[in-house]
């Protein structure tokens, strides 16, 4: 069996133990997290809209999202606006136009939002939808990835992702095209 | 302070003026400079081709020639780097080790060891400074564009002391010229293309001269300039620093 032979070869060939660096949380930059988050998110093709409550958020989404499409949400408070996502066959999500989910926190330096599968409702939802909306509390923006991983270092999840902007590609002559396979747009709604 | 002048083989054979200017420049700063007549080559052409195991005899010769000096100075970043990294001697290991720590490329010797702050030289032309890779990335003669670190440049620091000189900015400040030792013939197509592109950058930015701390890069670029019948000329940095006042 290859397992034993591979592990034996590795054991024989690996160098003498070299210690892990003890400090990986060394980066603390003096930045305004929310301001930087907005700036970077827009740079990577996302949109940010600040509201003071969910009613305002709904009003805003009604004004910018395709009204006739299929709206799905994993946020209980948005059930009056969108169908609540049901567990089951992800293929049923094939024609979703707008998905509304919550994010745990955002990261200022790269515009990413951390979302675990509980908040997605279904793992496929944030990817298969044509437009993705993430609700984020403005107090939950950390400056750098170091702080991000401090928050999630020992958290339990089956699947989770940093989502930074809409799906994109530059594979054809480095021309940036938004909407490769996943969402054509990402809107982060910043709530109080 | 006794300084040994190490003249790379191709400079000795093809560009004696560069060595003369280097010698005169060092003498101008009051240094006692010796030139061991039995010197040949640092062995880099063999080593970079994968034949470092053949460099034993050039290594021993180099060690014999330069063991007695306080400093060894050479008008070539590339050859200096090779000695710094690879000189070994079975017959005189301690001397070889000492040479490795005491060999300097000309410009770093002037800025770091004798710390000169003015030069009586004049070169009233527009000059593009080519950063040779072994000098820049190997000996760290200048900051590298890849790194997130404060800018500096030892060759530029010296050139700025020269009267009348105008340093032109380059679009790609530290791209390789493509000489690369035997690479220049083994990978002729890519080597020439790299050289053409480097030359074009200087020409586009209106340089009248291309200078560098390595004559090998300049020889390669000169070969291309001549073939293109370009009026742009190459000049080793020692030639500029030793250029008479006008």
């Amino acid at each position: 069996m290859s397992r034993e032979s591979i592990l034996n070869a590795i054991k024989q060939n690996q160098p003498e133990l070299s210690p892990l660096p003890t400090e990986v949380d060394f980066c603390f930059e003096d930045i305004n997290p929310v301001e930087k988050f907005k700036q970077v998110l827009e740079f990577i093709g996302g949109k940010l809209h600040a509201v003071s409550n969910y009613a305002e958020a709904k009003e805003y989404l009604d004004s910018v999202m395709p009204p006739a499409g299929q709206w799905i949400t994993a946020v209980p408070e948005f059930q009056d606006h969108a169908a609540f996502v049901e567990p089951g066959d992800p293929h049923l999500l094939e024609n979703v136009d707008v998905a509304i989910i919550k994010g745990h926190f955002g990261v200022a330096e790269n515009g990413a939002v951390w979302v675990t599968e509980e908040l997605m409702g279904a793992r496929a939802l944030p990817f298969i939808t044509q437009h993705l909306v993430i609700l984020l509390n403005k107090n939950n923006v950390v400056p750098l990835m170091q702080q991000a991983y401090q928050l999630i270092a020992d958290k339990e999840y089956g699947y989770a992702a940093f989502i930074a902007g809409p799906s994109k590609t530059a594979d054809i002559e480095q021309s940036l095209v938004i909407g490769a396979h996943g969402p054509r747009s990402l809107t982060v709604i910043l709530t109080d | 302070m006794k300084v040994g002048l190490f003249v790379p083989c191709y400079i000795n054979q093809f560009y004696p003026k560069v060595a003369i200017d280097t010698l005169e420049l060092l003498e101008k700063f009051g240094l006692e400079v010796g030139y061991p007549l039995n010197q040949t080559c640092c062995g880099q052409p063999m080593a970079n081709s994968g034949y470092e195991h053949l460099t034993g005899s050039t290594n021993e010769l180099f060690t014999q020639n330069f063991a007695g000096y306080d400093y060894i100075v050479s008008p070539s970043g590339s050859c200096t780097l090779h000695i710094k990294d690879h000189l070994h001697s079975d017959e005189a290991p301690a001397e070889a080790k000492n040479i490795r720590s005491r060999i300097y490329e000309l410009t770093e010797f002037l800025t770091d060891i004798i710390k000169i702050d003015n030069i009586k030289a004049s070169f009233p032309y527009r000059v593009g400074l080519h950063q040779s890779c072994h000098g820049q990335r190997g000996l760290k003669l200048a900051q590298m564009t890849e790194l997130t670190a404060p800018a500096f440049s030892k060759p530029e620091q010296l050139l700025k002391m020269v009267n009348g000189i105008e340093l032109v900015p380059l679009t790609r400040a530290d791209e390789c010229c493509g000489f690369g030792g035997t690479f220049c013939v083994a990978e002729e197509a890519v080597s020439v293309k790299m050289g053409k592109d480097r030359v074009a950058d200087h020409i586009k930015n209106n340089a009248e001269y291309i200078t560098a701390a390595d004559m090998s890069c300049l020889m390669h670029m000169e070969g291309i300039l001549k073939r293109q019948k370009s009026p742009v000329k190459v000049v080793h940095i020692a030639e500029i620093l030793n250029a008479a006042m006008v």
Partner: protein, 460 residues
């Protein structure tokens, strides 16, 4: 080296079209410039690189235990683990997983490891259709070519050529070359694939020993589209993808995409820890020469590579010779230090496809001493007899001339024999130096001659 597969010869062909070389060079330089802007914006960039390098060094030194730990945790998470000693075993494992499920069509996101193993060819020979879902990979797949770059697989193709491929295979209008329209066409085409395929294979960017999870980074979302819609998710990883703890991702994710494309992070950094209910998740841990490389002291640091491609984008030789001239799955500087480990004879040319300028080592986010390893591979290759007889003869001749001051110092330009041994100096019509370059005319006196005449010669 094998006939007709030499980097210099392939690069020469690539250079026949100078405008295309310029275009290729500029396109990749544009990516390098984006990388510079992104990295220069991080004050602690160099400290991040050093930290990443040290973490990877610890991984290399504790690989055995981390792998055992990773396996145990992944099994607890409900993931099936397979071990493959080589490419053939890896491919056989993929096939057996698919066969067990009765699946004969699979969608695959980017995995350089499967390129290294030639998985697509193997599966096709065994009646399994594979569709690459990364746009660039799909383009080269339709063109029946390998990727020319590990991050930008079709960087060698112009949009007009891609338009022709899409016209032929995906029914776009003849002459259509607008990237927006071509991408939209691929989106529609691949969406149908994602919806209908029951198995998805992805690569692995990082695997975490502490938690048994793995991370896949894409901009397009293709790994997620494939994995979340499939009954079976297979992830293929070289064992060197391990990192000790989840928190170490903070270091690597800050470095990876900034180095690769200049983006602050990929659009999706997906952490797969457990299969979703009803799904099967497999990880294939592959050796394929890596344990041998781990034992090569001078070259083991190459296993730190996180496949960002920065060394390729910055390499002046890569930019002017194209990825295919490296005739191996991973091109460019990093490929040139990885490939000889797998087959020293076949890839004997690659460590010489460099000027040793050192730019690769400077951009490397995990500080692999790439150009020093290129130099060291040259020595190993020559010592193992994979150099040519002509070159060896030339080197021996040069050594002889340069070892003897008497020969070297023969005066007068006709007498200076040493000139004949300097490889670029002799203008005999065969010397490639003179094809596009001139040499200076040898002066009457060498410097040594001048010195003897003008200074009192120092005795040796």
């Amino acid at each position: 080296m094998s006939a007709g597969k030499d980097h210099a010869a392939l690069a020469q062909v690539f250079n026949n079209d100078e405008n295309r070389v310029d275009w290729h060079d500029e396109t990749l330089w544009f990516v390098r410039a984006k990388r510079d802007r992104a990295s220069h914006g991080i004050p602690d960039w160099e400290l991040l690189r050093e930290t990443a390098s040290q973490i990877k060094h610890n991984v290399l030194s504790n690989m055995h235990n981390y792998l055992v730990q990773f396996e145990e945790n992944a099994l607890t998470n409900g993931i099936k683990i397979h071990w493959a000693a080589d490419a053939a075993e890896h491919n056989a494992i993929v096939l057996s997983i698919l066969k067990e499920k009765g699946i004969d069509r699979m969608v695959k996101s980017k995995s350089m490891l499967t390129e290294e193993c030639h998985l697509n060819d193997f599966l096709q020979d065994n009646g399994v259709e594979v569709i690459d879902s990364d746009l660039g990979e799909r383009i080269v797949q339709l063109a029946k070519e390998p990727p020319s770059h590990i991050v930008l697989p079709c960087i060698h193709k112009k949009k007009e050529e891609i338009g022709d491929i899409f016209h032929e295979h995906l029914g776009t209008a003849a002459g259509e070359s607008d990237p927006q329209i071509l991408t939209e066409t691929a989106r529609q085409h691949l969406r149908e694939i994602f919806i209908t395929r029951r198995a998805a294979l992805t690569g692995v960017n990082f695997a975490i020993a502490e938690t048994g999870e793995f991370v896949v980074c894409t901009n397009e979302g293709n790994a997620d589209m494939g994995a979340h819609l499939a009954d079976v998710h297979i992830a293929s990883m070289g064992f060197e993808k391990l990192i000790p703890q989840r928190k170490h991702l903070s270091v690597f994710l800050r470095l990876l995409t900034r180095s690769a494309t200049g983006q602050p992070i990929t659009t999706y950094s997906s952490h797969f820890k457990k299969p979703r209910p009803g799904q099967q998740m497999h990880i294939i841990i592959v050796d394929n020469g890596r344990s041998i490389q781990l034992g090569r002291e001078d070259f083991r640091n190459s296993l730190k590579c996180i496949r960002c491609g920065a060394c390729m984008n910055t390499c002046p030789v890569y930019r002017r010779s194209g990825g295919h001239s490296y005739h191996t799955a991973v091109a460019g500087p990093i490929g040139s230090i990885l490939a000889p480990n797998l087959d020293m004879e076949k890839y004997a040319d690659l460590p010489f496809a460099s000027t040793l300028c050192g730019s690769c080592s400077n951009v490397c986010p995990v500080k692999i001493d790439i150009h020093d390893q290129l130099y060291k591979w040259r020595q190993v290759i020559v010592k193992n007899g994979y150099s040519t007889k002509t070159k060896t003869a030339m080197m021996k001749g040069m050594t002889l001339a340069l070892s003897s001051p008497a020969i070297f110092n023969l005066s007068g330009k006709a007498g200076r024999l040493a000139l004949r041994y300097i490889p670029f100096a002799v203008n005999n019509g065969l010397n490639p130096w003179f094809k596009q370059r001139d040499m200076p005319t040898p002066p009457e006196d060498s410097f040594t001659d001048w010195y003897k005449k003008n200074r009192k010669g120092e005795k040796p």
